[in-house]
């Protein structure tokens, strides 16, 4: 298994707490993600999974705790620097650049790479233009790989839901992440699409070697492709371990039986 021989965790979440007024979205949450592994993150609605993603990408500020990535204190890094460190994400409710073409959406995934200066842009400096050309070549590769070629020159806004999800995935891959945060990638997909997605994620992981933190309600998918699973409820970690261990964990069973129908 990739990552089995890596000792240092890639992502270390330690004692993280987030409060919104009276609501405590996360409390004393701790877990690790190792390099190259797919780590499932499950929990009923409102468990705090998206909130955790927003802490890692520096949209929310935890009240307590620390988040370290590759040994670096993430909470000291501004939001726009996160991508450059090698963390890319997809959004639960899709956050594409609607008026931009699919290709441009994917290309924007490399915004952290150098060469976005305004002056080089204004003057079309050859250096900047060359770098853009190289990045475009990579963007085209990802577009082809995720079967987006037919829609590459259309604006993202009007595309079918499943297609837009693949655009987001391609955009995230464009950043060459070492950690990919996936917030319900199977949400809204058909049954067949979900199966294909599982195979695709594993294949992409094997090819690019990233670690993935996979938030998903689709149990078949998480349990099928995760190396490890962390379960949450009410902002707390209630279980962690192999998919089989977590599936049988009494606390997890209770959390799901107790709430979700």
């Amino acid at each position: 298994m990739p990552g089995a021989d890596a000792h240092d965790p890639l992502l270390e979440v330690r004692g993280v707490a987030v409060r919104f007024g009276g609501v405590t979205a996360l409390r004393d949450l701790s877990f690790d993600v190792r390099p190259g592994e797919i780590c499932g993150l499950i929990g009923p609605n409102g468990a705090g999974k998206t909130t955790l993603f927003n802490c890692i990408t520096r949209i929310y500020e935890p009240a307590e705790g620390s988040i370290r990535f590759a040994g670096r204190d993430l909470l000291a890094v501004p939001a726009h620097r996160i991508a450059g460190l090698g963390i890319a994400r997809t959004f639960q409710n899709l956050a594409l650049f609607g008026s931009m073409t699919v290709l441009d959406n994917v290309l924007t995934g490399a915004a952290a790479q150098p060469g976005t200066g305004i002056v080089p842009g204004l003057l079309a400096w050859p250096g900047a233009t060359r770098r853009t050309a190289a990045l475009r070549a990579r963007a085209w590769e990802l577009v082809e790989q995720l079967e987006l070629l037919d829609v590459a020159l259309l604006p993202a806004a009007g595309l079918p839901f499943g297609t837009r999800k693949r655009v987001e995935l391609a955009r995230a891959l464009m950043a060459e992440p070492s950690l990919l945060l996936l917030d319900e990638p199977a949400g809204g997909l058909t049954h067949a699409e979900v199966d294909e997605l599982g195979g695709l994620l594993v294949a992409l992981r094997d090819r690019f070697g990233f670690a993935a933190l996979l938030v998903e309600h689709h149990m078949g998918l998480v349990m099928g492709i995760s190396d490890r699973v962390v379960a949450m409820d009410f902002g707390r970690r209630i279980a962690a371990g192999s998919p089989d261990e977590v599936r049988r964990d009494p606390a997890v069973v209770a959390a799901y039986l107790g709430r979700a129908a």
Partner: protein
């Protein structure tokens, strides 16, 4: 098309698959270059022809060019980056007064004041852009509106420099064209016509470069989804502030040229909120986030009032103009150029040469991709520029 691929390696698309509906024009190809050169020659020919018109007509065109530059500046911040500014009259005014004051009070050569005006307006734009880091949408528009309201007051306040409410007259002697042009002082309209035409072409070239660069991509990403832009690594604050500065600098350049064009500045003349509204109107009519929208918009705001006053004389003309504006915005929310691009794309799509289907066809002697118009889906993006 919604199926998710599970093939990890590159899948070659079926051969001959269409790149786009309709005909395809490859950017940088001989045909594309040819069209660009033809377009450029046409523009030069039109300008040369226009320079034989009576001075009054040329003056009108100069006014259009100056306004087009100002709107092109606004387009960067409002069109491409999505930050509505109703304060650009202040940058227009700052540019104009920089030129006016430096020429009249300090004896500068008029042309040498232009870079100074650009520099001042750039810095002013950075400052006005600061609030955009914290506040959004209409609230930001309100802040820029306050800047627009404040500018004429400032001019009145510093009246020993600006001449205050009485105005500032730049005497024709100070605006004499350089000797090498051989243009007499009385004919200085010709000189300004060419200066503004060349300035406009240069501004459009720079804007075109910028909007096609990755910096331009970042601007549009900020406009479409600020949070997602930051998650991709776009430095949202830097993009907003620098765009504001650049936008103000370009509108300030227009102001400097305007000062030479009118030769007399007054705070209540062309630097009130009405000017801002004129710029926004021109941008919307011509087409926000399009390269040539500002030019069409400038033509519209200069000439439409003439047209409506011909059709409906007297006070009715203002009403006719208003009705026409509303009708145009209803019929073409994307603006004239935006609409034209959508229509044009049904006929021909400009595709970059790095499109994989093209690269494959180039390797494969199967001929160019066949248009077959079977592509479903929404109208193409209004954001990409067509060749000129």
């Amino acid at each position: 098309m919604t199926a998710v691929a599970d093939r990890p390696t590159t899948t070659p698309a079926p051969r001959g698959r269409p790149v786009a509906p309709g005909r395809v024009l490859v950017r940088g190809s001989a045909a594309h270059r040819g069209l660009q050169v033809a377009g450029l020659l046409l523009v030069v020919a039109l300008l040369v022809w226009a320079s034989t018109w009576p001075l009054f007509r040329m003056g009108q065109l100069t006014n259009v060019f100056v306004l087009a530059i100002a709107i092109a500046g606004l387009n960067l911040v409002t069109g491409y980056t999505g930050l509505l500014s109703i304060g650009h009259s202040a940058f227009f005014g700052l540019g104009a007064y920089t030129t006016g004051v430096l020429v009249v009070q300090y004896g500068f050569d008029a042309m040498l004041t232009v870079p100074v005006a650009i520099g001042f307006c750039f810095v002013a734009g950075l400052l006005v852009g600061l609030p955009s880091l914290r506040i959004h949408g209409l609230y930001l528009a309100l802040v820029t509106l306050a800047v627009g309201v404040a500018f004429p007051e400032l001019v009145r306040r510093f009246d020993d420099l600006t001449g205050g409410a009485a105005g500032l007259v730049i005497r024709a002697r100070l605006l004499t064209p350089p000797e090498w042009t051989g243009i007499s002082r009385a004919q200085r309209g010709i000189w300004l016509f060419w200066v503004s035409a060349i300035a406009l072409v240069l501004v459009l070239l720079l804007v075109r470069n910028l909007t096609r660069s990755r910096a331009g991509l970042a601007m549009r990403a900020v406009r479409d989804h600020e949070l997602a832009a930051a998650a991709q690594g776009v430095h949202v604050a830097r993009v907003k502030i620098l765009t504001f500065g650049l936008s103000a600098a370009i509108t300030g350049l227009a102001g400097a040229l305007f000062a030479m064009y009118v030769g007399a500045l007054a705070p209540d003349g062309s630097f009130t909120l009405l000017k801002s509204i004129e710029l926004v109107t021109g941008l919307v009519l011509g087409g926000a986030a399009t390269l040539l929208g500002p030019v069409v918009g400038a033509v519209a705001v200069v000439f439409l009032p003439y047209l409506t006053s011909l059709v409906a004389p007297g006070p009715v003309s203002g009403i006719a103009f208003g009705v026409l504006l509303i009708a145009l915005v209803f019929l073409m929310p994307e603006g004239v150029v935006g609409r034209a691009q959508i229509a044009l794309r049904r006929v021909v799509t400009v595709v970059d040469a790095d499109h994989p289907a093209l690269a494959r066809t180039a390797r494969d002697p199967g001929g160019p991709p066949e248009p077959d118009g079977q592509q479903p889906g929404p109208p193409p993006s209004t954001d990409e520029d067509q060749p000129r």
